[in-house]
Subunit: 401 residues, 2 copies
């Protein structure tokens, strides 16, 4: 019997209790022993709740109980979660968490602290919700030299982009529907400006590089400037528009960014629709492997937290190792990154565009008039931005994957 504590009885925390209640027998089979919640830390009481009697308000009760082997931190936010996790690890308890904000900010430090105390720090649920991608990266493909990781990491923005594409609706209208349905927050900034995807990209980039990639070092653009016309052009190009978190190794440099991209239909990521997430990992021997599933949701996310608990229980007394050191990774400036760009400008700017960008490929759509739209040759971001700023009558641009 392994006894655990859950910090925070909100959506994910109560989901962890539900997974353990409903799938108790399967959990026991997988872990090799029963797993029981002894404490739930929350500021609130939950009168009438099945787990009412486990609720405590003082973290020290958990910290000072030597029976507690694993602490599941499902509170979210940096503090007090960070302090609680550190104290738990220092007192010889393993920690698993769904807290992407904290993992992005302090993950490598917490992994090292776990190692020092011969316990484990796992965070499967912090990226891709229920998708079992992080453990697979650590257990099944860690011997691959990874060239790139490219992911649709935020369900809210993917839902919005999918609806804009399928219904020809504009951004604001779709956002409102998403908010009414509960797919988007009332304050949607973290999603639509790409901050949430950036956190998850930082976690993936750190695991890929083996060093700490700070989210502040990741160039991030959201989806608020995407319009219905962009999708008209995308269809002409046989491409989808998706918000991607991307990291890649190219010419000895390590790049990481978050931005909306045009993706060819023959790339599987282009087919990931609605609230689903997917992460494509490219290894030097393996080629592409893609993991797909629900990127959020109470039960799916909680199931990933429980998977971490089980992994820890299976490896009792042993540190589960990550290739992740708490030293800053060198992220190459986005200006050095090379790709094609899709540009829309006034029809009158056609000559100027051709003079500036050289051999461009025009893109036409019956549904859009008064514009000249084109794809640039491959060029650096720096070169592109300089030319884009010089071009008169520019309207918008998108990157091509």
């Amino acid at each position: 019997m392994a006894k655990i504590a859950v910090l925070g009885y909100g959506t994910v925390g109560s989901g962890v209790a539900e997974v353990l209640d409903v799938n108790g027998a399967c959990v026991e089979d997988s872990a090799g022993e029963k797993i029981e919640i002894k404490y739930i830390l929350d500021l609130r009481d939950f009168p009438g709740d099945k787990h009412e009697s486990q609720v405590v308000h003082d973290f020290d009760v958990i910290l000072n109980d030597p029976e507690i082997e694993v602490v599941c931190e499902t509170m979210g936010g940096i503090e007090p979660a960070f302090t609680f996790e550190k104290k738990a690890l220092e007192s010889g308890k393993s920690v698993c968490t769904s807290n992407k904000e904290l993992v992005a900010a302090h993950g490598p430090e917490l992994v090292e602290l776990a190692k020092k105390n011969n316990v484990s720090y796992l965070f499967e649920a912090s990226v891709g919700g229920g998708i079992p991608v992080l453990r697979s990266m650590n257990d099944s493909i860690r011997h691959e030299r990874l060239d790139s990781i490219t992911g649709i990491l935020n369900g809210t923005t993917n839902y919005i982009l999918t609806k804009m594409d399928q219904e020809g609706a504009d951004f604001d209208a779709v956002l409102k529907v998403a908010q009414d349905k509960g797919y988007a927050e009332r304050n949607p900034e973290a999603d639509i400006e790409g901050h949430d995807a950036c956190r998850k990209t930082a976690i993936l980039a750190s695991i890929m590089s083996g060093q700490f990639v700070k989210h502040d070092d990741i160039y991030t653009e959201g989806i608020t400037k995407i319009t219905g016309e962009d999708f008209e052009y995308a269809r002409e190009l046989n491409m989808a528009i998706k918000l991607l978190g991307s990291c890649k190794r190219e010419d000895g440099k390590f790049f990481a960014m978050v931005a909306p991209f045009l993706i060819p239909f023959d790339n599987s990521l282009s087919m990931v629709n609605g609230v689903f997430n997917a992460i494509d990992v490219h290894g030097n021997m393996l080629g592409d492997v893609m993991y797909y599933g629900k990127g959020a949701g109470k039960k799916a996310t909680a199931s990933a937290v429980v998977a971490d608990v089980i992994d820890i229980v299976r490896h009792k007394g042993k540190h589960i190792d990550w290739n992740l050191r708490n030293v800053p990774a060198e992220v190459a400036p986005i200006n050095d990154d090379i790709r094609n760009f899709f540009v829309r400008c006034d029809a009158s700017a056609e000559t100027g565009a051709k003079e500036l960008f050289g051999d461009v490929k025009q893109v036409k759509s019956d549904k859009v008039s008064g514009e000249f739209a084109f794809i640039t040759p491959e060029m650096t971001e720096k070169d592109f931005k300089e030319k884009y700023e010089k071009l008169r009558g520019v309207r918008s641009y998108l990157r091509l994957l």
Copy 2:
């Protein structure tokens, strides 16, 4: 330093050597120690090969060397692979293999033998080539109650179906091109009749049910009867045609089968094209998770074998447990399975079809004439077959996922 032996220096076996050579540092990081090939068993010599000096012709050299901790069986076929694997396990050596034929025939027995000898038996590469699905099922989602597993498990047939769809070409022509390109064997029966997909389905079904699902108990249909007209209708239905291996739990029964299916475009499996494989697993808490990647190929498959070696080295002295007992699983007769069917018959059979099948939904294509095509209401396979046999002028049928 862990020393291993590779049995069979063919495509996969030489790939294992290549992965260990090229990715040696990553392998060492992942395993926690260096991994070295001490012996390669093959009937042939390989003069001039980098690993020439490791080649031996007598399995007993490997068996009697206490330094060998892991045996990678990459020979294929039942014998002598089965005897070699048993002897290795009995002498306290762990075994990993890409041999789907053997795993499908004797996997549960070999898992039990490994357990008895406190060593491990792993077979990631036997399903989906390089896709890390089996370890993920055992490590990350074993605590889920799985409702279904549905997979595109054979790259050759998926390549053929994709080409038929995209190019409007007929089966025989595409098969010939696939053979010329080396995507299909000169004797393609194992692929096109579904036998290979059946082996992989048997392995997945065994892991899902926790018991031995024999491939002989899995109803299997191949793709040889699919025509260009079927794809015309499929497009009208917004569906793809894919050869699926499927197992599911429904009404307390466990079903397993291999057959070509019509799959709606909004199901991600419909988008898996060419030689790629994908496996969708549905858990009670997690919902759908899909794993996608190269289902075959030297380096991808070898990478999965190396992942197994690493897992074994990480868990030295410990049996890696599967929820898989060597007792026969009860597979429900396909006759009890319920679904919709797509039927094509002569135009003159319309009245008869409506009388027999009741409320059918007609499917029309501009490109096909002289036919009446329709989708039946949901019905059991038994009911369907009885009616289909009674209908005059029937041409073909397909199942709907």
